[in-house]
Symmetry: C2
Subunit: 212 residues, 2 copies
């Protein structure tokens, strides 16, 4: 019986959201020299129950061996395939402020399937300057260049006031996934995926639980 790779049941988005953390954890187990793990070891590391991990993985196939556990490198290969990061996605970064600089200098994305191809900014003082290994380009040329390069993934690191405009440009250029660092809700057409990063929201979520 073959793997049920294209699964019959629909996959909850919340499960998809956990897979990157499973992958991240498996990679550190591998880096520690381990070859085999179990749902309970993964659960301990992640603060989840073993049942949840087994159930999540079971949406995609049967990756473990009863009585033994999971082969770490095999499971890494499977998760990279499932998340479609068994390749490198070219990414466009918009915004060359402090945050854009931190993103451009951060070398942790490559390992996870992403490589910045272009950096754009609207500030004439920044255009043609270099940032990390990139030359900052004028946002006026974004649509043309991103479309020509068939880039489908973007990171948005501009001020909130500019975010919706830039998002519209990205969509026009054919981008289908946007990681939005601006603290504002983007409106995008169906078929475009947005993930928001809002550190201030995370902070406020924690202070709720602190005693006055």
């Amino acid at each position: 019986m073959p793997h049920k790779q294209p699964p019959g049941r629909p996959i909850p988005d919340i499960v998809v959201g956990r897979l990157p953390f499973y992958l991240r954890t498996l990679r550190s187990l591998a880096a520690e020299g381990l070859e085999i793990t179990s749902s309970s070891e993964l659960g301990d590391r992640l603060g989840l129950t073993s049942a949840q991990i087994r159930k999540d993985l079971s949406y995609f196939g049967e990756f473990g061996k009863q009585g033994l556990g999971y082969n770490i490198s095999f499971l890494i290969v499977q998760l990279r395939r499932i998340l479609k990061v068994d390749r490198i996605w070219e990414v466009v970064l918009v915004g060359a402020g402090d945050l854009g600089r931190a993103i451009a200098n951060y070398h942790g994305f490559h390992d996870r399937g992403f490589e910045i191809r272009f950096v754009f900014d609207s500030d004439p003082a920044k255009v043609r300057q270099s940032l990390s290994q990139y030359t900052i380009q004028d946002i006026a040329s974004l649509v043309e260049k991103v479309r020509a390069a068939k880039i489908r993934v973007a990171m948005l690191a501009v001020p909130a006031a500019a975010a919706q405009n830039v998002s519209d440009l990205l969509v026009e250029a054919g981008v289908q996934a946007i990681l939005n660092y601006a603290p504002t809700s983007l409106v995008v057409p169906k078929g475009v995926y947005v993930q928001n990063i809002d550190p201030g929201a995370h902070m406020q979520r924690m202070t709720f639980y602190l005693e006055a």
Copy 2:
């Protein structure tokens, strides 16, 4: 009958997680000069249903008027109180790399209830250098200084390999809430809250949905 401020029913964490986004949206409505809004207007802006917003708010009190909607500035006051950001929390930032620099230079936290008080790093070349308005301090003095200043909230922007060690120091110093930018799971005692920011995980969550 007074407000049911300390509610009888337990509040789901997922509801708490949405409140900062309600607050953020209300503030932009206020900035647009509006005085009144409705659960459906908020829902439209946030991509949620109006019923969800009414239900979420009802955990904390009755803030609206039937037939009319919500007074924006009143609701802002209430949400700031609920989230305990009707004050300024002093924050310790650990890590003065590119990301730490972007965080230190970002002035959007103050409006949301947070102010950086100290910046620490372990690199002797960085200690005593200035970063934004701060002087980078030796991490060896972290526990003493953070404890003396009674700081309860931290941002962790160090490499993954150092994150658990620094987290242990923060906990020892009395910190109760940690915003963790390192792509690793922290182990902390009960009563310490951790929120993780992992852009790579968000990216992988989106590529799952992209056609090959």
